[in-house]
Symmetry: C2
Subunit: 891 residues, 2 copies
């Protein structure tokens, strides 16, 4: 005979540290009990017992029932009630609870212990027969569904609901609440009858039999298919087992000296230190949820029952102190006695998260490092963008959901093309505008900048629209496939809703939800605590945070947000606007002389661009990426020119205009590419047309020389994009070093500059040792690297990526957060090879991932020098970098 094992733990026998044995829920109830909190008494059967039961082929271990019985007797005593007692019945809840929270496991059974006898005791106690019978019918349904429907599928909840619906029809009730106590009593009878018909057994009335069946059901649920699949997916071991929690039910609806409520230890919206929450007297939790009665603010309890309020306040403070975090506490008052049912770290708005963390550090409740770890970096962004006011109240106005591509909320009148948006929006009639379009192209920038927000039906989080959105801080939703846009009719439809040009819509780029109408928006300011938190973060982090900025304005904003350099200055935006005609002349030039003339015109303009940016960065390093996109992006749209040609051919077949258009069309067709992403761009373009980058390097170094001559500090770093083979870099660097030297010689000034490359092609990672020998820095272009490693075009991903996320084929969007398993492996390979070959090399990242907290943390583990992200995300990256360093220190 085996020695007697301890299987059943009264709450007071456990602790938070025993979550492996007692499960998360059981351990937490034990912890609160031992803190002296008034937790309704109960006990937990440990996880080992579950394994014993299953290993024995679903057999209750010998002696278990005796132990349960003994624990139950202690609980009866504590509760002052008896299990099955006709006058003062003890009712219990039975819940599963594994070490990790796990969907697919058995749900809660409430009110266990009810039967035709104990119901009378409950009615006597509450004076509320309707409540008692409602609890009874719920118990029969829940017990049947949860405990037995695996063996008897006809016992699923929906079958009982059908019976209930039939009864409601018969008595003429519209809602559940319209059915009275007597009818509910009839319903309980019908339920039990149905149960017997399906199972061949009477519904178990004996409370201990109910309890035994419920406990066994919890054990068995450990191996139900959904739980099994979940553990496989999450790599949770299958041998942990689940605990079973049996706890006394308490009721807040036993009269005017009873009640229920929820409260936070600090204001969850602002972070202010005060009790914050609501309660309702003579009510159950579900009454609050149902919204039949309006709950009162917790502060009212102070007047209504100062003693109880004081007791609760003391408990709340004790819990916050114990858990060292703001708590969300559920409580019930049963006949004047306070019970704590649950406490957990409270959810809070981004602004509150910051304030609470900083306050708690100042109160010495936590350390500054802990404060830094307390605020989720991704939340930070939410604290920096305009937000929808009272989101929850607007739910019914939501009409569609797309990808949350550019955070922040915006409201405006729908405009269906960029020109209209520009005409009506900022700089035009100054109306509030939301640009709605299938997708956006570089030609649409004027419209995007004039709009409050952008909404597209195609494209992913790194589509053109999304990139521009984040770059310029425009709230944007992309890839909202539900929209059916009719450009000709200038409207879109989604479901039954039609939005025409000029109709108001509101978008929340933080969540991706589109609303009908003009909803209230609130700006969010960076508070004093925010700055303090950032200061603490900066002390902790090792990664530098740089920014992606293409203009002096963006550079200045980024510096204000704490950027320590520019990691990506894209030069192609400098080819737009009023320079387009010159750029087009350059591209369409039939001979080198004409091309050179156009480039000579561009040189002083580009030089002025760089001067402005270098000045704004005040001596911080600036990585300038040489021209990257295919040249056809700067030419008129192919399909539009085609249309003009077709039309002209019919209407004016002999016009000079036609000849000119046809020549342009022919050039466009010559330059057309099947997959421009993988075509003539980046360094390839520069190898075929070296004059453009020669002009650019001349402009960069020329601008730097000018500043140097004025005794200002400047550190340009020239980045050659899209290198896949070391020889590409060698070839170009050779030419461009010469240009740099010539430019400095002409200016009579020496400048500290670097040459490096963007690592964005898988092959570059695989051969990083060779490339590192020819570069002074690497910057991971994780947008393209992800696209190529995954074989997914960011512009086309809208066709399947949303489905992938929905079907859990991918857990996360790899264009948002670095795919550590795949792309990350490639990056690590690259870092290892590069550092071996060139220990002095500087490594950074400038893809969109540079502003994603999880990716920033990954970059920290890679040992990069810096991450670079859009100006708005700089604080996010600073915090994430600090957290990565602190987490590493703790590990």
């Amino acid at each position: 005979m085996a020695s007697k094992k301890k299987r059943v733990y009264l709450f007071e026998e456990g602790a938070a540290s025993m979550n492996a044995e007692l499960g998360g829920k059981g351990a937490n109830l034990a912890e609160m009990t031992n803190l002296g909190m008034p937790v309704p008494p109960g006990f937990t059967i440990d996880t080992a017992t579950c394994n014993e039961y299953l290993a024995a082929g679903d057999k209750m271990p010998q002696g278990l029932w005796e132990d349960v019985d003994a624990a139950l007797r202690v609980v009866e005593e504590r509760a002052g009630k008896g299990f099955g007692d006709p006058q003062n019945p003890l009712l219990v809840s039975v819940r599963s609870g594994a070490k990790f929270s796990m969907p697919g496991m058995m749900d809660t059974v409430l009110n266990l212990g009810l039967n035709p006898v104990t119901i009378e005791g409950l009615i006597a106690g509450t004076g509320n027969p309707r409540f008692a019978y409602d609890g009874y019918r719920r118990f029969v349904m829940m017990f049947s569904d949860i405990v037995l429907s695996n063996d008897f599928p006809k016992l699923k909840k929906e079958h009982f609901e059908e019976i209930f619906n039939a009864l409601k029809a018969k008595v003429g009730a519209k809602q559940d609440t319209d059915v009275g106590a007597e009818d509910l009593a009839v319903l309980v009878g019908q339920f039990k009858e149905y149960f017997q018909k399906q199972t061949g057994y009477e519904f178990p009335d004996e409370p201990k039999e109910q309890l035994r069946l419920a406990i066994e059901a919890v054990f068995k649920s450990w191996n139900n298919p959904r739980a099994f699949t979940y553990r496989n997916a999450e790599k949770i071991p299958h041998d942990l087992g689940t605990a079973v929690n049996v706890q006394t039910m308490v009721f807040g609806n036993m009269g005017d000296d009873s009640g229920t409520g929820v409260a936070f230890t600090r204001d969850a919206a602002t972070g202010e230190k005060m009790l914050y929450g609501e309660y309702l007297m003579n009510a159950q939790g579900e009454d609050v949820v149902a919204g039949v009665r309006t709950p009162m603010p917790i502060s009212d309890l102070k007047d209504q029952n100062p003693k109880l309020y004081k007791q609760f306040e003391t408990i709340a403070q004790k819990l916050e102190k114990h858990y060292r975090n703001m708590q969300d506490i559920e409580f019930t008052i049963e006949k004047g006695r306070l019970y704590i049912l649950q406490c957990r770290n409270g959810k809070r708005t981004p602004a509150a998260a910051i304030r609470i963390a900083v306050d708690q550090a100042k109160e010495k409740l936590i350390t500054k490092d802990e404060a830094v770890l307390r605020v989720e970096a991704s939340q930070l962004e939410g604290a920096m963008h305009p937000q929808l006011k009272d989101v929850t109240k607007q739910k019914d106005k939501a009409i569609a959901k797309g990808l949350n591509a550019g955070p922040g909320a915006a409201t405006g009148m729908a405009a269906f093309d960029a020109d209209t948006a520009a005409r009506l929006g900022k700089g035009g009639r100054n109306e509030q505008i939301i640009l709605v379009s299938a997708e956006t192209t570089p030609d649409d920038i004027h419209g995007m900048l004039a709009a409050q927000g952008v909404l597209t039906s195609r494209g992913g989080r790194t589509s053109h629209a999304a990139l521009v959105a984040r770059q310029f801080g425009i709230p944007t939703i992309c890839g909202c496939g539900e929209l059916s846009i009719n450009g000709a009719k200038r409207q879109f439809t989604v479901g039954d809703t039609t939005i025409s040009e000029g109709d108001w819509i509101t978008i929340d780029g933080t969540t991706g939800v589109v609303y009908k109408g003009q909803l209230p928006i609130e700006a969010s300011a960076i508070t004093g605590e925010f700055a303090e938190l950032m200061e603490w973060a900066d002390k902790a982090r090792k990664l530098m945070v740089w920014t992606n900025a293409d203009s002096p304005e963006q550079a200045a904003e980024a510096v204000r947000n704490g950027a320590e350099g520019i990691g990506l200055c894209r030069t192609e935006h400098m080819f737009l606007g009023d320079r387009v005609p010159i750029v087009q002349r350059m591209i369409l030039a039939e001979d080198d002389k004409v091309r050179q003339k156009a480039l000579d015109q561009l040189l002083p303009l580009q030089k002025a661009d760089f001067l402005g940016i270098f000045e704004a960065m005040e001596g911080r390093p600036v990585v300038v990426r040489l021209i990257d996109p295919p040249l056809h992006e700067f030419l008129p749209n192919h399909s539009e020119v085609q249309q003009q040609v077709y039309v002209e051919r019919i209407l004016n077949p002999t016009s000079k205009k036609l000849a000119k258009l046809e020549a342009l069309l022919s050039k466009l067709e010559e330059m057309h590419e099947a997959n421009p992403m993988l075509g003539l761009r980046g360094c390839r373009l520069s190898i075929v047309f070296p004059q453009i980058v020669q002009m650019q390097v001349s402009a960069i170094i020329g601008a730097a020389c000018d500043l140097k001559a004025r005794d200002l500090d400047v550190h340009p770093e020239i980045m050659i994009p899209l290198v896949g083979h070391v020889n590409e870099l060698k070839h170009l660097r050779g030419q461009l070093e010469q240009v740099a030297k010539d430019t400095m010689k002409a200016a009579g000034v020496k400048v500290d500059y670097k040459f490096g490359t963007m690592i964005e092609i898988p092959r570059a990672c695989l051969t990083a040792d060779e490339i590192a020998r020819e570069a002074e820095f690497f910057s991971f272009g994780t947008n393209d690297l992800t696209q190529m490693a995954f074989g997914i075009s960011r512009d086309d991903a809208g066709g399947f990526l949303p489905q992938y996320l929905e079907k859990k084929i991918l857990k996360e969007d790899p264009t948002v957060s670095i795919d550590v398993e795949g792309v990350g492996k490639l990056m690590r390979l690259c870092v290892d090879l590069a550092k071996q070959a060139n220990p002095k090399i500087k490594l950074g990242i400038c893809g969109e991932h540079g502003g994603d907290p999880a990716s920033v943390k990954f970059c920290h583990t890679l040992g990069l020098t810096y991450v670079s992200c859009s100006p708005k995300r700089v604080p996010v990256a600073r915090l994430a970098a600090a957290q990565a360093a602190l987490e590493e220190k703790a590990a």
Copy 2:
């Protein structure tokens, strides 16, 4: 004092094995001398001496000159001539010769030893003053250019040519040969005068001074920039040094008992065992090259001088036996005495290579394994395609050069679109047609199949045109960027040439050259020796060779060529032809019912396709790839529909046709992708539209069941393309296994089938362990893998890849031969991870690289199970696989 080192080796003191010391050329001359061949006497200064010279700062090592002098005395004695002797002067050639043949090193100086005195002896000996003075003026020019122009750039050859041209103008000579002996004597004087003017020195007349200067020039040339760069690129160490070869000149133009010629020990065209070559009496080698006199076949020498012929024949046989390979021998007869100047392995046609290897093995000259190693696998393909007859004679008809995309020659009339080609070509008027087009799409297949050959101005070796070309064995040139095609005028121009529709052109898809006019083509048959060689190869190889085939005809051809399975059966071709309307109905279906109806129509058609292929493969495994390309590839061309809409809008704005066209256009726009290569295709398509692949699996398994029911053997392997994440495979395989089971259940038959995936996305390689656990086989799709690892679209590479190859940024086209450093690294990573995770997994390759010999060898080292290539390339792959195994054994 250092001990005396041996620096100078008479030819008889060396051997072939001493190529590090004597350089390749010196070692070979030594070897021939020691074989008793009548090699003109001479000596070699070793490579160490060159290093000594350079290390000392360009100083002749002490004692070297004494050693040279001593060797020279032996040579004088052997030659029976004296260096500087006025009556019987010894003239020598001086040549560099490093261990590896190396461009940029010093060229040959001939006739060294000539001066105003020895020239008289030469005239007396040859009785030909013009020859003597021609040699003299060449010597002065060559010596100045090669020995001294590094220090004096004005001594470059072209400056002397100018002087010569001036003289020719003066004496009224059109060609060099029109200038007589006396004028040449004047020219020598002018050359020497020019020399003095440029250098300030007299031209050196003293033979030993000439020799010293020439030897030093050879030493110095080791470090000239071109040689240095070449060694860097080829990773040849810089400390090898070069040897110097000094050899007696012999002359074939010393009268009618002198002559010169070149002969092969076997027929270089057919491989027949016979002396094969040409000679010319009283002539120098350059006379043969200049084509002034027509040389005679070597067999004529038998009649003209049987003794000499016999001597030469014996020498030839001895050399072949010694070198164990067919030899290419240069000889000169000086006054009745035979000299062998050089011998090397002879170049041969593919057909000859096969016959010679097999014959020599049968003669026991070499082993069968050696025979297998002797034939270059890439040559084999040349033996299987129609070839241009007498290529060298057609040089002047060449008008352009593109990428050799589909091997074989073809001639026909130019047709500028697929419909015209189909109307005029095979199946139409049966004219011979070359389809000329900017590029081809799947819509053009009918035109390509009707043509003798295809010529495109865009696209690389793996563009659509090239893939189809190799699949169907159509001679094809792609990416011929020089062509300017004017589709409207139905013509193309290149340089001054304009080719209009109907004009004859000829293309050589093996070399990429385009010719004007109708040139003669010859078919090439697989001879008996070919089959024998293949049999020996099959015994040696470990890799299996499978084929890429989409039809029963291709499958049968591949089996005839030795294929052991199908590694890639593309199913999308089964969606073309008369099935297009059904396929389009399926794609454009607005609801699932309509779509399913179209799929139900396709099911029996696809099933019939598979039945035919399975039958043709007679029980060999067949890997069927489920649908891969984006659906819009099956729809009408977007830009054409657009044109129709624009035109219709103007001409018939209210027509029903317009409404229909607009609906189609709207659908096309909805499906349009910016980068279709990285878009909704492969398994992504199947996850979004599962019905298509469900139909395909039902057809595959259904066909297999039918054959099984007829007691025939069948092994389908179902391949899911474009998997980048294991969950894609899991998701689809789960669904499709069910379809397979359902289909077998319905048929009442069990079939042996496998599920696997194509590895064509970098991420799949990086996470191959996870994917391998869910797959029974992997097949590397190296076309896409190369595209994504390199970030290069095969359809757009024409814009820069040719320049990359020209500028040596890439040594080889990675779309032709696996890029071992980058893509290969990824493949090896994949193989290692996959085998660790699933030791039973079967690994193959089905990209175009599967037919490239270097890539096949790489696949052998990876330890793959099979390579799969187009039917025509199966023998190539068999041979390459055998060679890989034999080379490995030898290593």
